[in-house]
Structures are given as C-alpha cells and as structure tokens.
C-alpha cells in the first residue's frame, strides 16, 4: 500500500473534535464567516473523553462562590504553581458555557426556584450520557464547519516559523491529507498509555482516561519546537478498583469516606484534602500494609444504591455491571479504590503547551485549548469549553488580513515518503504493540509508575531516558500492512516523544510538593525559590532543553516576548 496526497484548504483547522474542539468550532461559526475544518481521529459523535458521557459538571461557579474563589481553590490544590491569568479567564466563563450547553440540550438538575442543584462548591448535577451527540449535532448545524471523521493528524505544516496547516492520513482510504489553514487550533486531548496500567493485559484500557488520546497534540508541538510546560505535574486518579470508574460520584454523592482495611478513616492523617493527597494517602496506607482501601458505602439506602447504578451507567457502565455481576452493590459492600497509572492531561493538572493569555502557543498561527493547553489545572469539561472559546476568538483575530501560505509541495512529498516507508518492505522484528509494552514497562520501572509507588530519582530517570530514546530509534523500523496499523505506529511514536519530554521535566523540578503526582526522591525538602517557577521545555535538535519561567498573576496579560 502507498498513500497519495490530497490538498484541502480552510481558514481555521481544529485538530480534534472533542470537548474543546467542538466549542471552538461553535464560537467561530457563530461569530464569523470563517471556514472551519474539524479533523477528528474517530467520529465526533462519540470521540474523546466524553464518549460514554459525564455525570456532573465539575467546574461551575455556584451561588456564593466567585471566579476568584475558584482561582483560590485551583491555586491551593496545585501548591501555587498555576498560570492565574489562564485559570481566571476560564473561571469567568464557566457559567456562560454551562448555559450554552444547556441550551444545546444538556439536561441539568434544577430546584423548584429554577436554580441549578449543586454538588459541593463547584459541581452541578446533570444527565451527561448524551453530551457528545449534543455537541456533534450542534457543530453539524453550521454550514461553514466541515467535520472530517477518521483522519489521524500526524504533524503540523511549519513554514517561515509559522504553523500553516497539518498533515494527516485517512483510516479508510490511502490518502495523506495536506490541509492548509490560516490558523490551527490544537484540541487533541492529553496522553494516556505512557505507563503500564493497573491491569496490563486484556483490560488495559478503561473508561478513564481515553486511551485514544495518545498525546498527538503534545508530540506534534514538541517536534515543531513549541514550548511546553509542567509535564512533571502528572495526573494520577483515585478510582474504583479495576473499572477505574470515578470515585467523586460516590464520595460526594453519598458522603462516603476513604477507609483502610481496619475501617479507619485515613485521609486526614496526610494533611489537607487536596487531589494529590487523597491519592497519596491511599498509596501510603497500602504501602504500610493497611490496604485494601475503600470508600465506605455500606449502610447507604437502597434508593441511594439505585441512584448510583444509574449515575454510573451514564458515564462508566462497567462499574454498574460489576456491582450487579457480583450480586453485591455499594449498600452491602464497600467500594475498593486504587490509583491509576500516571497520565499527562492538562485539563486536570498543568501539563501542556505554554500559551499566552489568548491561548496562542509559542509558534505563530497555533492555538491550544483543553487538555493540551498547560498552566491551568482543574478545567474539566466546562473549562475546556471556555478555553475552546477563548482560543477560537484569538484565532479569528489572528486570521484577519492573513494571506494563506501555500504549503510547499516538496515538503509534502517528503512527508509522504516518510509515511509510506512504514508501509513498504518486510515486517520487522517488532510490532507497535511490542514497543508500546516496552515503553510502558520502562516508564513504570524508572519514571515513577504504579509498581514503584510513583516515586523516582535522577539515576532512574537517566535509565528511562536512554531506553525511551532506544525505543524511538527502533520505532522507525516498524511496518504496517493497513491504515489502522499505521495509526498504531504513529500513536506509539507520539507517546515516546511525550515520555522523553516528561522525563526532562521530572528531572528538572528539584523539589517535591505534589505527592505521588511528582515525587522526586532526591529532593524531598521544600524550597520555595525552586518551587515557585514553571518548568518549561523546548525540543531542539533531538534534545529537551529546559527553561524556568516566573509565575503569572491573575490580572496580568501574558505575551510571548521571547519566542
């Protein structure tokens, strides 16, 4: 098989039709005549993190709270290392995007006075099973937005220091698309599958985090030389055992506490209840032989149990199936919990592109929103909507008066050759799956995975870097016999680039304040001077170059003055 090129042209190319990408497209369509292409790896109807649904909106300014209190919560949870300008501009828009998604058809629970019913200080209750079809239908209504499903974008087109489009191949026909655009918005989601998973065999994937988010957006940016931030702030989720279904629904829904095998509530022993501490405390209880750990649900009412069955069917059906299959629900059996493998995901923690306040990356013409944009943790669904809108407005402003760059034929031919080399010649010794397994084992053993209790040190990271580089070299010899296998190759290559950058960041942050998420055993002590900085990087000539940058305050307008 050999691919052939096909040229497409648009004003704004959005890579990834998920949470942030769909809202970016809607914003552009509602405010301009600009032509938009959404290039989607699967099908917008059920692609990305929201495929199965979502059971609450976790970022909303409820009555009595303000964007400022939201900012304070995010700042405290991340021990101060956040881009306040980014978090605040998101927080200001959370309620507007919520209203918008409700108008599009999302069911949100209201009380008798017509107010949203909150779950805690920042969450509201919804029925989000069909949130993705709602977004897909909304996007489809706009004639200026073209959705191309089943296209795997592999690299940006960079000319004269600007991003002027992207290359991607179809999963259905032997075509390499050369898409030229005046501006590109990257909304590809984060990176799963870097580390060995809890159940590394048949059930390696689960309903969190989307395994099809393979870090493509990060990897394309890394290869293009964009500045990245805070990869070292990994996200490790505390989840229901095996199914990796969310625990917040149980913890907040029925007020279940975390207990160890003796029934002791252990969380408070480990400090203030932050996201990383909830996780870390569970790791420590297990390490000291007090596991398994549970959410204490025994004694909840039959009605509460029934409501939990429904809530999980609306977002993580495996958990309900597990309860029913076991013949024991949460009312009679506490729910065992465990930590996942680490992910790089900017919607939860701070990893991603280093953007200015308008969400422009350090390369002209490229914008980022959602899980790929760094510096602003705890975005969740509504934060990704808001950030998609901000990036859309900025991209629209940027394309005014821009004359589209015609992509270089020669570069497109070169790209075509590099794709086709995977499709030619006899199969090699290894498959993409072999490389993936090797990568996950290296990261698990040497870069703070589950089996080492998430901690690492400099010597280990050196080993990890060497091995990841070897695997990257080997990966260029991989062969594919069909387009799906070709996608598997690109996915593992992208993950390897993300791993290399991640290792550079883990090494560079010589402090420890996010237990489990980032625990450098060489530097356990606190040191504010080292801590209150951003660890950023650029990939130059095959090397991760680290730069440290200052924190940015709430009302600052951050611009890239040295890009």
């Amino acid at each position: 098989m050999n691919l052939k090129t096909k040229n497409l042209k648009t004003d704004i190319l959005i890579i990834g039709g998920g949470t942030a990408g769909c809202f970016a497209a809607l914003k552009i369509a509602e405010n301009s005549e600009a032509k938009v292409i959404i290039a989607e790896k699967a099908n917008v109807r059920r692609s990305g993190c929201l495929a199965a649904g979502v059971n609450a909106l976790n970022a909303y300014i409820v009555k009595g709270q303000t964007p400022e209190t939201y900012l304070t919560y995010v700042r405290n949870d991340a021990e101060g290392v956040i881009r306040e300008d980014l978090v605040y501009t998101i927080a200001q828009r959370l309620n507007d995007v919520t209203k918008k998604v409700e108008e599009l058809g999302l069911v949100i629970l209201k009380d008798e006075a017509g107010e949203y019913v909150s779950r805690g200080n920042r969450n509201i209750k919804i029925n989000g099973e069909n949130i993705k079809p709602i977004l897909a239908d909304a996007v489809a209504k706009h004639p200026n937005v073209t959705v191309i499903n089943r296209i795997n974008i592999i690299d940006y087109i960079v000319q004269e220091g600007k991003i002027v489009g992207a290359y991607g191949f179809s999963l259905d026909t032997a075509v390499l698309y050369v898409i030229s655009a005046k501006a590109v918005i990257c909304t590809t989601g984060g990176a799963a599958g870097l580390y060995k998973s809890n159940n590394p065999g048949f059930s390696k994937h689960k309903m969190w985090y989307s395994p099809f988010n393979t870090g493509a957006g990060y990897a394309m940016g890394i290869r293009a030389g964009a500045e990245m931030t805070t990869f070292e702030m990994r996200f490790i989720a505390l989840r229901c055992k095996d199914t990796i279904a969310p625990t917040g629904t149980i913890a907040q829904g029925v007020g279940a506490q975390q207990i160890n095998s003796s029934g002791e509530e252990y969380e408070k022993k480990y400090g203030a209840p932050k996201t990383s501490v909830r996780m870390y405390s569970t790791v420590m209880e297990n390490r000291s032989g007090k596991g398994p750990c549970y959410l204490k649900t025994v004694g909840i009412t039959e009605e509460q149990e029934g409501d939990l069955y429904k809530a999980y069917l609306n977002m993580a059906p495996a958990q309900t199936l597990r309860w029913l299959e076991n013949g024991k629900g949460p009312a009679s059996d506490n729910v065992e919990i465990e930590g996942t493998e680490p992910y790089i995901v900017g919607g939860h923690t701070g990893s991603g592109y280093w953007v200015d306040t308008n969400r422009a990356t350090t390369i002209r013409g490229l914008y980022a929103a959602g899980d790929v944009a760094g510096g602003s943790p705890q975005k969740y669904v509504t934060g990704c909507f808001a950030e998609g809108e901000i990036a859309a407005v900025s991209a629209l402003r940027y394309i005014q008066g821009i004359i589209p760059t015609v992509p270089s034929m020669q570069e497109a031919e070169e790209k075509l050759r590099s794709v086709n080399q995977y499709l030619q010649g006899a199969p090699g010794l290894y498959t993409a799956e072999d490389i993936e397994e090797a990568m996950q084992k290296v990261m698990d053993d040497y870069a703070g995975g589950i089996s080492t209790g998430y901690a690492f040190n400099s010597r280990k990271l050196q080993v990890a870097r060497e091995r990841i580089r070897e695997l990257l070299r080997i990966s260029y010899q991989l062969k594919a016999t069909d387009l799906h296998q070709l996608m598997f190759i690109y996915e593992v290559v992208d993950r390897l680039y993300v791993c290399e950058t991640l290792i550079g960041h883990l090494e560079a942050r010589q402090e420890t304040r996010w237990p489990s998420f980032q625990e450098n055993a060489d530097y356990p002590a606190k040191d504010d001077e080292k801590w209150l900085k951003f660890v950023n990087s650029r990939y130059v000539n095959g090397k991760v170059n680290i730069v440290l940058r200052d924190l940015v305050k709430k009302d600052d307008i951050y611009e890239h003055n040295d890009r």
């Binding site: 199965a52 099973e129 299959e325």
Partner: protein
C-alpha cells in the same frame, strides 16, 4: 472490558462502526461487523447504544473480575433500558429517563 458481536443478530448496518472512538470495528467477509481489536476497547458502550438489533454484548474481562455476565441496551423514546444478563440467562433491567438528571 470489551464487546462481542453476535453475528446471528448483526445486520451489518455499520452504525456501530461509525461511532467507535477507537475505530476498532471493521466489516468482515460476510458483511457483518467484527471487533477487530478487543483488547483496545475501553468499554464506553457507544456501539452498544447505537445497535438497534441487540447484537452487541458488553462484558468485563476476566482479569478485572468478569464472570460471564453481559449487558446491552434498548432505546425507547426518551428511555434508555440497560439489560444485564447473567450467565444463567436471568435478566435485570435498569431504565434511565434521559430527560432526568442524575441524583448525584
């Protein structure tokens, strides 16, 4: 977690193939849909909900405690019925009204 497609029930309409977020479903030589990469499935049930012929069974892998039960869904206007079938054939049904928000 993964799915198994009952080729007796599958009519090859392709609705499930279109929506799979991992593009894991392909058409086989008989025009039916097959799960080509069962280990790559993350259990989102998007395909299950698209199928009007109850041909797709969603189950938990044995490595995560699966015991042979499976589930499928039936759409009825605003109602989504989830049917869980035990290995002995007995069924349990949970119905969700899509116009109602979650209690939690």
């Amino acid at each position: 977690m993964s799915i198994m497609i009952d080729s007796q029930k599958c009519v090859g309409c392709g609705k499930c193939r279109q929506v799979c977020p991992g593009s894991l479903l392909y058409v086989d030589s008989r025009g039916k849909t097959e799960m080509k990469y069962p280990k790559e499935c993350w259990g989102c049930t998007s395909c299950v909900k698209e199928c009007n012929f109850n041909a797709i069974k969603y189950y938990l892998g044995a490595d995560m405690g699966g015991k042979g039960s499976f589930l499928y869904t039936k759409q009825e206007g605003q109602l989504l019925h989830w049917i869980i079938v035990a290995p002995d054939g007995s069924e349990k049904q949970i119905t969700i009204d899509k116009s109602q928000a979650n209690a939690y």
